[in-house]
């Protein structure tokens, strides 16, 4: 079993970190995992994305053309990645930043007003956690606790006071439901 996730958005939206967290959690659960970012100067101020693959066996390509799931944190990401998702896959849209609906009907789509939720939680930088919570809930590869554990063990000690907020963001995200079409 192999699950591929692409997380995409503007640089600075916490795209890469959300992906790493997912990867850490999967690793700690004993899975095979790869994380690969877009990189380099052309990314400066532009878009950023990363691909995370979680699998039970040795992972071949860390890049996939047809991911199982996508988190689209802005409009260009939605435009680019929606068509690629595997039928039956999952699309999480940050509806705070995206001004259109999904068009695919063969996938599960969740619209998450992540910026609003995050700001309610007191820190707009938590939007990536909210979206990650939504994703995990739909994907079912790991319990939300796995991410919480990963946060605890991989967030530097000095940031641990932020853990409760992060947990809550994950839980809030998980409450969003699939859009009925």
């Amino acid at each position: 079993m192999q699950t591929e996730v692409i997380i995409a958005g503007f640089g600075g939206q916490g795209v890469l970190f959300a992906g790493q967290l997912l990867a850490y959690a999967a690793m700690d659960e004993g899975k095979q995992v790869t994380w690969i970012p877009s990189y380099g100067p052309e990314m400066r101020g532009g878009t950023a994305n990363c691909t995370v693959i979680i699998s039970d066996e040795e992972i071949g390509s860390p890049l996939v053309f047809h991911p199982k799931a996508v988190i689209a944190m802005n409009r260009p990401s939605l435009d680019k990645y929606e068509p690629m998702i595997k039928p039956g896959g999952v699309l999480i849209i940050n509806s705070s930043m995206v001004d259109r609906k999904a068009t695919r009907t063969d996938i599960k789509v969740v619209e998450v007003d992540a910026n609003v939720v995050a700001e309610k939680l007191g820190d707009k930088r938590l939007s990536n956690m909210v979206l990650l919570g939504a994703l995990l809930h739909q994907l079912g590869v790991m319990p939300a606790e796995a991410i919480e554990k990963a946060l605890r063990s991989h967030l530097p000690e000095r940031h641990h006071k932020l853990l409760p907020q992060n947990y809550e963001a994950l839980h809030e995200g998980a409450r969003f439901q699939v859009v009925e079409i």
Binding site: P41, E42, R44, G45
Partner: protein
């Protein structure tokens, strides 16, 4: 730039013709943009756009050829002065400039710049000193200040093991072949005006066949310095200018006579 006035208004400033209609990839506030603009303004004012051949280097300014509205070539990292030599020797009537970062010119390209200068190569070099390797994400450059933190001097540049900064203008002014070597800063309107005058002078030097000219521009890199553009300007003023004094390091007597 064209000064199109109308009945009631004077056009005080507009984008120079020697820049293309392309938005740069530079970070907000990056002084690469100011240097570009000044060079373009001078080229407009001197009406030498059609004579220009630029040599881009490897660094954040690698795409300079996209922004300057004249002929350009793009050199391997550090080799712009050699490439410019090649261009100028076969097209001596053209005005040839290189545009190089501090990693490019003062580190990997040290041999080429010293020899272009000592040959008195009739080219103009614009040297952007932003105390780090911007493009590759902020590593130590030869110009990084003692104690300055970069991604490859994470505890601050330790002069004992990582050496001292290079003062390029002072160094190149030592060479008999260099005719006009100065340092300017891009941190405030006054210094920017002085920088523009120097650009003008450098091109005049070349047009008159007086040999090698080089302008070092003290510049900022807000992204890798981790500061806002205006905080960066202050940092430049407080830290760079004391270490890299502004001024004219070499003005050949024949250059001193030029009136602009």
């Amino acid at each position: 730039m064209d000064m199109i006035d109308n009945d009631t208004e004077t056009l005080v400033y507009s984008r120079p013709n020697s820049l293309t209609d392309v938005s740069t990839h530079y970070c907000p506030g990056c002084t690469h943009g100011i240097a570009h603009r000044l060079i373009a303004e001078v080229i407009d004012e001197m009406n030498i756009r059609e004579k220009m051949i630029g040599v881009a280097s490897v660094g954040c300014s690698v795409f300079a050829y996209n922004y300057f509205n004249f002929d350009f070539v793009q050199a391997p990292h550090g080799r712009a002065p050699a490439m410019a030599t090649g261009v100028k020797r076969v097209l001596p009537e053209k005005v040839v400039m290189t545009y190089q970062g501090d990693g490019d010119m003062a580190s990997i390209g040290m041999a080429e710049i010293v020899h272009a200068a000592t040959r008195g190569e009739n080219i103009t070099v614009f040297f952007i000193n932003n105390t780090n390797y911007g493009m590759t994400g902020g590593q130590m450059a030869p110009t990084t200040l003692p104690g300055q933190k970069t991604t490859s001097s994470q505890n601050g540049r330790d002069v004992e093991t990582q050496g001292y900064p290079i003062r390029a203008a002072e160094l190149l002014s030592q060479l008999d072949g260099s005719s006009y070597v100065v340092r300017r800063s891009l941190n405030d309107p006054k210094n920017i005006r002085l920088a523009k005058k120097a650009i003008r002078m450098a091109f005049e030097v070349q047009l008159r066949g007086l040999g090698f000219s080089m302008i070092e521009f003290l510049s900022i890199c807000p992204t890798n310095w981790g500061m806002s553009a205006s905080a960066s300007m202050t940092w430049l003023e407080n830290n760079m200018i004391p270490y890299y004094p502004l001024g004219d390091y070499k003005v050949h007597p024949a250059v001193a006579e030029i009136k602009i």
